[in-house]
């Protein structure tokens, strides 16, 4: 298993649907049958994506939204190429937390590309819930960022688009790509060194 080319981290308060978003994206599934369970710590998923005619391995850290893991979440966005901050348009509280994450990222990881993601679009569309976060405020906030997506993990709407945009943006970033290439070469070297060593070991 090789390391990932791009590191993406999902942030946001609990119960906004970060895990569902990842499961939709990675496994193309949405399980409406299982009751909500909070993520403990963080979960890691990887997927290969194509951009500009080339394959890239992306690793996604799905972090816990619960407050008690907040201090630990820092280690997941350290060195992340992109961050998706999730909120629920029908939950003002989750928007307040989003602003907290924005601030954190701006001070700790300046290089990180930041995307906003409103979740549970299907609920909003069906009129089952009322929008609490005004659209113009969202628009103001997303101006300085790489993009804003309104997604539904249930229907899959905009999920692929969000991650494709992230990968395309990363690939278009010359400086980032230089680092990625260097990493790949480094990894290849290490692997060869390991193999050589391993052979030696096997012979004796």
């Amino acid at each position: 298993m090789s390391r990932c080319d791009f590191k993406i981290v999902l942030l946001g308060s609990e119960h906004v649907g970060k895990t569902s978003l990842v499961l939709r994206f990675v496994n193309s599934t949405f399980n409406s049958g299982t009751p909500y369970q909070n993520t403990i710590g963080a979960a890691f998923c990887a997927k290969t994506m194509r951009s500009n005619g080339k394959d890239f391995n992306i690793g996604i850290w799905d972090t816990a939204g619960s407050e008690r893991y907040e201090a630990m979440t820092r280690m997941y966005y350290r060195g992340a190429h992109a961050a998706v901050i999730c909120y629920e348009p029908c939950c003002l509280e989750s928007w307040a937390r989003l602003r907290h994450w924005l601030q954190e990222l701006r001070t700790v990881e300046e290089e990180c590309k930041v995307y906003l993601c409103g979740t549970k679009k299907d609920l909003l569309d069906s009129g089952m819930v009322k929008r609490e976060v005004p659209e113009d405020i969202v628009a103001t906030y997303s101006q300085g960022l790489r993009g804003h997506f309104l997604t539904s993990s249930k229907t899959g709407e905009n999920v692929e688009e969000l991650f494709q945009k992230i990968v395309d943006d990363c690939v278009a970033d010359a400086k980032l790509m230089r680092n990625v290439e260097e990493m790949r070469v480094q990894l290849l070297k290490e692997e060869e060194a390991y193999k050589a060593k391993h052979k030696e070991y096997c012979n004796c």
Partner: protein, 558 residues
Amino acid sequence: MASTSKDNVQASTSGQGNPADDLEPGACPESVLNPSDSFEEFASEMSSSLQERNINLKSKSSTISEIQSEICDGNKDNTEITSTKSSDDLQSKDDQMSALASSCNLSNQNGEDSDNEKDDYLQSPELVNKEKHVFVLSSAGKPIYSRYGNEDRLAGLCGVIQALVSVVEDQNQDILRSIITKDCKAVFLVKGPLILVAVSKSNESETQLVLQLTYAFNQIVSVLTLTQLNRIFEQRRNYDLRRLLSGAERLIDNLFIFMEKDPAFLLGAVRCLPLPEKARENITNAITTTCHKIRDLVFAILIAGNQLITLVRMKKYTLHPSDIHLLFNLVRSSESFKTAESWTPICLPKFDATGFLHGHVSYISEDCQACLLLLTVQRDAFFPLSQAKHTIAEKLRRSNCLVAINDALNRNQELPTTNPLKHIGIPEIRHFMYKCKSTAQLFTSDPISLDRLQDYRIRHKEGGDVSEKKIEKLSDIDYVRNYRKFCSKIHCTSSPAKLIFRSNSDDTVLAWVTNGFELYVTFDALMEKDQAIKAVDRLLRWIKREEQRIFIMNAPTF
């Protein structure tokens, strides 16, 4: 008809020829588990004075920092590790604590209902007629957890509990331990900044209930660490802990279901998944050969269906059964481990209550329900451990170990351990459970299968109400329930029984404890004593013969 004998039973029975070897079934020179008995601990919990309790709160030295410093000693140039103190994650949390506090007070005031309404709530169907209630509150009387109903609406009740506890403490300089009424026991446990209460109509003894409350406390410590828990309440006595525990309630819920059902808790032992000796050896080898170079790895644990498959450990360190039970509970309660690799902070209270271990948790493959936990003190170790996991999974597949695990889990008919009673061939035995004391491992006549575990949880969802209806066919859970009072007589500290034989028109139960093992057997009704002892003898021989399959008989290290 009941007889309890405390004299030398062992001598009289061994005369009839105990299992040929000197060692009791399941015993081995070194144990993966720390066999220290929890019962003594709970007994001391029950008899400690107020001062002793307050002293005990001061936590001991940290095992995790011990391991970290050890790693650093051998590796001085690696400065990165020295900086990872287990507690530094928590530091920043404190700064926010005071900010949060003001909002807590507000919500509390909003929650004030009129007294009448509260009294009505205590009579609501959500709360009445439950077999066992559990409440957790802060020592300031703020509700933290209730097994049933909504904690917010139980603020009044929690106030009463807090008042009862503090009146006994302040005015009488004593500890409130329990209140017993005709059909109900209320047991109190004050631990650190928390008050835990169980109100039970079941036949569990006071000690058994204290044990369960201690588990609940440990479950809370397991998600927060004792350091953080104490610090929160040192800073704000009034803090609403539910903020930090959110999402962990289901762990406590499931823990109580698990404790009521599984004899592992009753006996303070761990169940192992019965496996052919060779298969278990291959699994252990796959883990040791893959992981022996990963320096910071403390434990590698493979489990399936609340049973231990293997445990590989860092030299010098063992795990306590109660820590393993918490890991079982965590894995059983978290569907998310099935879909992705998790990187999870886990505090194991018996191992080190002051800090987190970091666990790489994942199922071994999509077609095998075994879950691998790799626990380390190094919090940046995800990728090497992820790599190790994939290597292990590949090795297990190649050596057909996944098939062996699946066979055991699905109770493949051809294994002798699938239906032990049938294989043993003593028709009078209806049920038994056996604990090897030196290794803290357990075997019962009804090995767990995954579908039945599921079944129990679904049934439990329906209520937890006290049921009146007469059960026609006993399930394994009912047998375990029947053993409770025998267990409490045998674990009684003031005058422990060594052998209990009780026979009536329903069934015959024999409970026997020696230096090496504990055995509980249910026979047909009105069984003669000598006949029962002969049967037990045959049973022990069978367990001895199968011990390599049903127990972990070695204590592998990296």
